[in-house]
Subunit: 420 residues, 2 copies
Amino acid sequence: MMRSVSRVLAPLVNGATRGFAAETFAARAGEPVQAINETNRGPSGIINVPTRLLMGPGPANAHPRVLAAQTLPLLGHMHPPFLKIMDEIQGGLRYLMQTDSKYTLMVSGTGHAGMEACIANLVEPGDKVMVGVSGIWGERVADMSRRFRGNVIELQAQLGSTLSYTTLKENLLQHKPAVLFLCQGESSTGTHQSLAGLSEICKQTNTLLLVDTVCSLGGVPLFADAWCVDAIYSGSQKCLSGPPGAAPLFFSQKAMDKMQRRKEVPATYNLDLNLIGDYWGWFGKRFYHHTGPVSTFYAMREAMALVAEEGLENMWRRHNEMHHQLWDGLKSLGLQPFVENDADRLSTVNTIKVPEGVDAMALIKNAMDKYDLEIAGGLGPTAGKVFRIGVMGFNAKPQNMALVVEAFKDGLKQQGKLKA
Amino acid sequence: MMRSVSRVLAPLVNGATRGFAAETFAARAGEPVQAINETNRGPSGIINVPTRLLMGPGPANAHPRVLAAQTLPLLGHMHPPFLKIMDEIQGGLRYLMQTDSKYTLMVSGTGHAGMEACIANLVEPGDKVMVGVSGIWGERVADMSRRFRGNVIELQAQLGSTLSYTTLKENLLQHKPAVLFLCQGESSTGTHQSLAGLSEICKQTNTLLLVDTVCSLGGVPLFADAWCVDAIYSGSQKCLSGPPGAAPLFFSQKAMDKMQRRKEVPATYNLDLNLIGDYWGWFGKRFYHHTGPVSTFYAMREAMALVAEEGLENMWRRHNEMHHQLWDGLKSLGLQPFVENDADRLSTVNTIKVPEGVDAMALIKNAMDKYDLEIAGGLGPTAGKVFRIGVMGFNAKPQNMALVVEAFKDGLKQQGKLKA
């Protein structure tokens, strides 16, 4: 399909009288229509994608039914049948997050857009933002909060563990921040931050509790209302078995009140939740704000249906069981968790210490070359120190745990590092 | 699949010893695991979407091959075969925009995200931003530019026409703005802004020329390099026959230099182009910034292949021919263009005057009910005054023009308004 020969178009006569080329192509008067540059013409042929089992920290493989929904014909972004699909997504998110709040939606963007939507709208210039840092997501939230002119206080957890209730309590009482950020599932370190007891203190200090659940939502318990969480963002491509490109959001009434009381609009129009909320019908009538990603929302409607059909209790149990099956296998090979304390260990993204003398990159490469299987390395503070295995969504099933263990076994064996 | 009965889980014993429920579901110590709220459980069943012909201002129907690509298995967002797909998209955009610039990519978001990426990165606090307003897109860019603390000067075009070379020249010379924004295709009014002659003045005033091509890219001529355009954003769901959810971007070296010389980082992390550029390999090595929308990028790779296969010259000609076929039919019914001057009229989004005494909503409803055909009303300054018909991408073909004309004929006939 590539052609290397340039086609020279008739040059356009300047001024009011337009030449042939302009008429033909609807160019405007005076705009020089000229030879088309064919250098970059491409790509050619049909797209071809290898089939891989994505057992890293995400994306996990999407459910085939979810992918199939993306072939359905597009609807207009304001057509009633599409608005109904958006309503179904909102309902599904309420169930998934265990809330009766009106304020759920999917951001038309990736998990990072969800994170930024929360920060940009909840943080006003000068607000104290206390950020729990147990890996790169805390670091990123701190960075974003500074960009939106928050006054950031970072609480650093020890690498591979989480922040204790006592530390959080002391700091909350001392600083009384407007927002407290915690990462429930920290995919860079494999830690699971407990939210126990925080709602009481946050009420006392008038602090909004913002929680990152990108890699944990649907995989581990979360009760947004009962735990008095004020804001949640998540990702579509982890435990929810969707493609990346949509970010679940939730806000409590208290968080919504703060957003509506803002002295100035957020710097971002694209993620201004008072306007996006209008598109999702938070305040009654629906108004155009942007064109939702129609295919991706079809996919996420199906992802929500899968959650409803399986049921949260079954989902949480399945993720936990697969996590244990994985570790039973890994421990039988002599591998050890990076997160030493059981109570800090995340079930959906698992960090595995790279044993002394093992070439992690070679093991990862072997798994991909031989089994089309993704095993991931570390990220940020864990780079070079760990392997990461996702136990998420459609991929959280016995055959995949077995293959991951097999791939580790094979990789260690090749390096003569298998403890018999 | 909906169940109304709540299941009460064993409550968790507080403290270090975790109860049965916590073990089963991997809840953290002290977090109250409780009855699951089944109220919002849903949605149920398989998604069902009506088939409609989307002849409004977009989304247009996506090409089936483009939609089909979205069923392919996900790849990791940093896997080499996925990075290759991103490279192919970049190449395709270079051809489409007629540039050899390194700096093309797709923003992981909708057209609004593309617009905001340009503003957030090109505009520094205090910069003079001259915004050509010929409809709602100029208004929106003005709003965004203020949010990012630009000093906005609006140039208002007369409704249904565009800004003249003389007006633009005089204002550029007077204000010497850092950025000039123009909307090549203004979908709210159906106008086509000429860019003729502007590069000379912009060079003189050291102004970056930023152009909205959301509904025009691929449909009308654009030569980014030859016309010395500095920045372009576009949409995926118009003339490119893709789903919404990705926004083509382009920057000249001059625009890139300004972004790299910024005194402070932009307020947005999510759309910080120095970081997103790293993901797309603008500066050599590739770094993780966010997880690209994998399925949507598959789709856009196919959309780029369709452009390359048809060829720009053929695409431009086809859009122009269909525009004329449409108007031949509409004029035979006595309908008149809202944009009176031929030279201002956009071929990809067509605005049609609502004739005196015609009930526009009834005509639109008839087209949808009888033909599953979308005819759109006005937006912003044209609300209630016009019908809007898109002639874009996969939909720009003779049978669709014929059906649109037929639907107008039928609608007018029903209202006794057909001029014989």
